[in-house]
Symmetry: C2
Subunit: 570 residues, 2 copies
Amino acid sequence: MAMTGDNPQPTIEELLGTETPLYAARRSYRPQLCPALAKGAGVTRPLAGFDLQVLKVAAEQLPYVSQNKLVEIVPQDPQPHEDKPRRLGIVLSGGPAPGGHNVIAGVYEAAKRAHPDSTLIGFLSGPKGIITNKHTEITGEMVSRHLNSSGFHMLGTGRDKIDTDEKMAQCRRTCADLQLSGLVVVGGDDSNTNAAFLAENLRDLGTQVIGIPKTIDGDLQVPGLLQVPFGFHSACMAFATEIGNLNSDCKSDLKYWHFNRLMGRSASHIAMEVAFQTHPNVILIGEEIEEKELTIHNVVRLIADVVVERASQGKNYGTILIPEGILEFIHEINILIIKISYIIAAYNREATEEESFHKLSYEEQVQLIDNSDIWRDYDSRVFLGFPSLLQRGLLLPRDSHGNFQYAQVNTERILLEMVSTYLRKQRAKGIYKGTFRTQNHYYGYDGRGTFPTKFDCDYAYNLGFTAYSLLANGCTGYMAAIKDLHKPIEGWQPIGIPLAALMHLEERKGRLELVIQKQRVDLESRAFKLLEQERVKWAKDDLYRFPGPIQFQGPGADSKPLTLQLNSLA
Amino acid sequence: MAMTGDNPQPTIEELLGTETPLYAARRSYRPQLCPALAKGAGVTRPLAGFDLQVLKVAAEQLPYVSQNKLVEIVPQDPQPHEDKPRRLGIVLSGGPAPGGHNVIAGVYEAAKRAHPDSTLIGFLSGPKGIITNKHTEITGEMVSRHLNSSGFHMLGTGRDKIDTDEKMAQCRRTCADLQLSGLVVVGGDDSNTNAAFLAENLRDLGTQVIGIPKTIDGDLQVPGLLQVPFGFHSACMAFATEIGNLNSDCKSDLKYWHFNRLMGRSASHIAMEVAFQTHPNVILIGEEIEEKELTIHNVVRLIADVVVERASQGKNYGTILIPEGILEFIHEINILIIKISYIIAAYNREATEEESFHKLSYEEQVQLIDNSDIWRDYDSRVFLGFPSLLQRGLLLPRDSHGNFQYAQVNTERILLEMVSTYLRKQRAKGIYKGTFRTQNHYYGYDGRGTFPTKFDCDYAYNLGFTAYSLLANGCTGYMAAIKDLHKPIEGWQPIGIPLAALMHLEERKGRLELVIQKQRVDLESRAFKLLEQERVKWAKDDLYRFPGPIQFQGPGADSKPLTLQLNSLA
C-alpha cells in the first residue's frame, strides 16, 4: 500500500503506483446499516398513510405489478437462514453516480449473509448486457476492491432502453438461461421504467425485479417517501467545492464575474443545493422562470441588475449559477425549439443523407426555416433578436429521437454575452460605471465521477440491502428506498415503493409513453421559499459560503444535502 | 458554529449561515513549525555549498542588495526579547494562491512573540495599496479568522508593478509615513522583482524588504534551495481531484475523451504534477515540444495515435492533459504570433482608436496581415493550414503590453478539432474504427481558490516566520524559503536567498529588463525522465490514479507534491 507523505521515505514504486492512501482508506470504511437491516434482510409489511394512485393506463399496461402496495421493511429476529441459494443479477444503467458500487456491495453481502452459496451476476455496459447476455459473476474480492469508490467501473454502464418486444424477449432469454430469481436495476427515471416493464414481463419466469433510485440530477423523488436519489449529494458537494473555490478566488482577485453552468438536465435541484452550499450572487431556477413566464431578456436583466448594483458598491466580481436545462423553461425559446425541431424532422424525412439539414450551410438552414408554413413573422423577430451564439445553438443537431439537446448549448456563454451587451447600453446611459470581466465554466462530468460522500456510501449500501430484502420477501416491480434520510441512520426506514404508482404519460418520439415521472423543483417547498428570501442578501453582500473539499474524517464528514434538511424542518 | 450533519437537528440559522463545520475546524488547526523556528525567530548564518552568481547588470542596478550572500536560519536559544516593537508591512501580489493567509499569520505571530507591541500593516488590493497608501492594521482576530483558509480575502490582491520612478517615490513616501522597518512582499516572479528593487530603494529609509515565493504555477524555483513555491501543491491537488474524477467517469461511461486544459502560464509544472497524481492517457509538456521542435500537426498526431491504439482495444474513452501555455512552445505558431503582434502594433500606432485593428472585420484583419512586408508566402501557407478556431485565436487582442494572451485561447478545443479531423482521414483509410466523442474542460480559477492542503498551511506559516527572522537579523533583498521540503517538517531548513542572484535579463515591452527568472520544467530532471517512462503505460492501459478530494484528517492528509518527492529520490 502506498503511503505517500505519511512515510518520510516513500519508495519509487509507491510514488508511481496507482494506489493512494485515501483510496485504500476508503476501501476499509464499513458503511453503517440502519436498524431494520443491521442483522441482514428484513421482512416486509404494509405501510399505511400514503396515497399512491395508479393511472388507468398503468394498470392496463402493468396488470400484475400495478397491484403492488407500499411496504416497509422491519427487522427479522432471529434472522432466518434461507433454505437454498439465490441467483441474482444486477445492472448499472445511465450516467455514473457516486455510490453505485455500494449498491452492489449491499445486494451481494445481504445475499451472502442469507445463504453463502447465493450468487450475484453483474451485467456489463448497462442494459445492453442483459439484452446480449454479457455478464460476470461478482466476487467478494471485486466487492471489497470497489467498496466506497467512485464511478461504475466494476461493470460499466450504458443507456439502452428495453423498448421493443424483441429486446424484451432477449432479456427473458438471458434471465431464463441464467436462472435468475431476481434482478436489481440501478438507474434514473428511464431505467426504473425499464424495471417496471421487466418485472411485469419476467414474472412467469420467476425473476423478480427491483429498481434502485440513482441520479446525480436529483429529479427522481417521491414526496414523503424518497427525498433524494443516491449520488445527488456527492455530485452537489463536488460542484459546491468548485463554486466555493470560485467564490474565494473572485473575492481575492476582485475582478471576475464567474458564470457557471451546472449539470442536472431539466430540473434545477443541483443548482439549488449548490446555491445553499455556496451562497452565490445570482442563482437561476428554471422552474421559477417558467412559472413567472420570464423571457430571456428578463433573465438577462435579472443578472445585469445584480452586476450594476454591486458595481455601485465597487464590487466588480461575483459568482452566478445557471442550471444546464434553463432554456427549456423560457417559453419563447421553447416554442422556437419545438418549431425548428419539427421543420428539421419534416425536411429530413424528404432529404437524402447527403442533403440532410445539418449538411446545409447556416444561411441555407435559416432560409429553410424562414420558408416554413409554421414559422410566423413574430418567430423571426424573436429569433433575430437573439445573439448569434443562441441562434446557432437553436439549430444544433437533434438527438436520435429528434429531441433538442439542451446540454449541448453553452447557455452560460449566451447569457454572459447578452448581459455584456445590456451593460454596454447601461454604461452609455451613465447607469453602469463598473468593469465587466468574465470567466465561464461548465461543471458536470467531474461531479459524476467524484468519490461518494459518507452519506452516499451509507445510503447506497442500505439501498442494496433493501433491494435484497424486497426480493427475499417475494416482491417484484418495486423501487427500493429509504424514508427519513434527514434523520440519523438510526432513524432511516427502508421501504418498497410500487413502481407503477410513479408512472405517468409523457411524449417520447412524438407519442405518449408510460414512464416514471421526473420531479422538478417544487416552488411551494420550504427550501425554495427560503432561497427566495436568502438570495436577496447573497446578491448584494459577500455572504459566500466555502464548503471546501469533501471530507471523510473529522468535521464536515457527516454532511447531508442542505435542501433535504431544509425541507424536513418542522 | 454550524454543525450541519453532525447534529441530528441543526437549526435553520445553522443551515442558512455562512460557517461550515470544515471551515471552523480548519481555523482551529495549528500549523507546525520546523525546529529552527519552533521557538520564534531564529538567527541567520552563512550557508555554504551553493554557487549563486549575480549578473553584472544586476550588480549595477542593485549595488547594495546584490552583495547579499545565501543564509540559513538556526534556532536562537534562549529566545531574545526584542528591545522595541517593530512596525512591519505586508502585501499580497498577483493571482491568489492557497496559503497566503498563513504567511500573514506567520509574520504576525513571529513579530508578536518577539515583542507584543509590534504591529503589522496590511496593504490593500496588492502593490497599488503601497503606492496609494491604502492599508489596514492586522489584528489577532483577523489572523485567527483567516488561518488555514483559502484565497487572499483578508487584504485582496492586484497586479500593479512598481516600475516607474514616480511609483517608487510614492512607495518611499508610504513606508516613511508609516515608519516601516520591514516590508514583506508575497508574490511570484514579478512581485519578487518588485521586492528586490524596493529593497534597494528603501534602504536609506531603514525599511528592509523580504520576498515570499508564491505561485500556483510552480515556476518560481531555485535548484537545491527552493523546490516549489507555496500554493502549487494545493492547486495541483484541486486539479488532480477533478481529473481523477474524470478518469472515473470515462472508465464508467466508456464513451468520452476528456480534453483538459490546465492553468500554469508558460511552464508545464502543474500538468506534470497532475499527471503523476492521475495517470492520464495523454500528457503534453510544452518544454518537451519545444526541445523536440514539434509542429502542431506532430502534437495532433501524438494524441491521435493514442486514440487509435485504444480504439483498437475497444476503448473509446480517455483523459488528456494540456498545459495552457503550450502554443508558446510550438515554433511555427510562436513565429506567427510574433509577426502578427508586430503587424498589429505597427498598424495601431498609425490608426485612430476607432480604426484600430480589432475594430476591423476578420476578413480585413487577415488582408492587412497578408499585405505586410514581414509576412511571407510560407507564413500564409502555415496559417491557412490551421483550423479556423486557431486562426482566429492567433488574431485575438494583445494585452496592454502588446503580448499575446495564451490563456485566452481555447487550446483544448483547437487540438480536439484537429484530432477529430485527422481521425476522419484515418477512418476513411480504414485505420481507425472507433467512435470519438469528446468533452472539453478548463481548470484554473477554482484551483487558485481551493482550501490550502496541510502541506501548504505549514509551509506558508513557516515562510512567514522565516521572513520575520530575516528582518529581525537585519536582512533586506532576500527571498524567504524552506530547504528540503521533501523531508518531514523536522528536517525543513529555513533560508534566505539573495534576490539579485535570481535575476536575469528578459524582453518586456520590447526592451530588456532585469527580472526574476521563471523556471521551466527541466527535461533532465528525475521526474521528467520517469514521466517519459510511465506515460507509455498510461496511454495503453487504464492505470488511472484517483487521488480524491483534499483531506485534512486521516490517510492522505499529509501528502506532498509527487514531482517534489520524485526529484528528491536518492
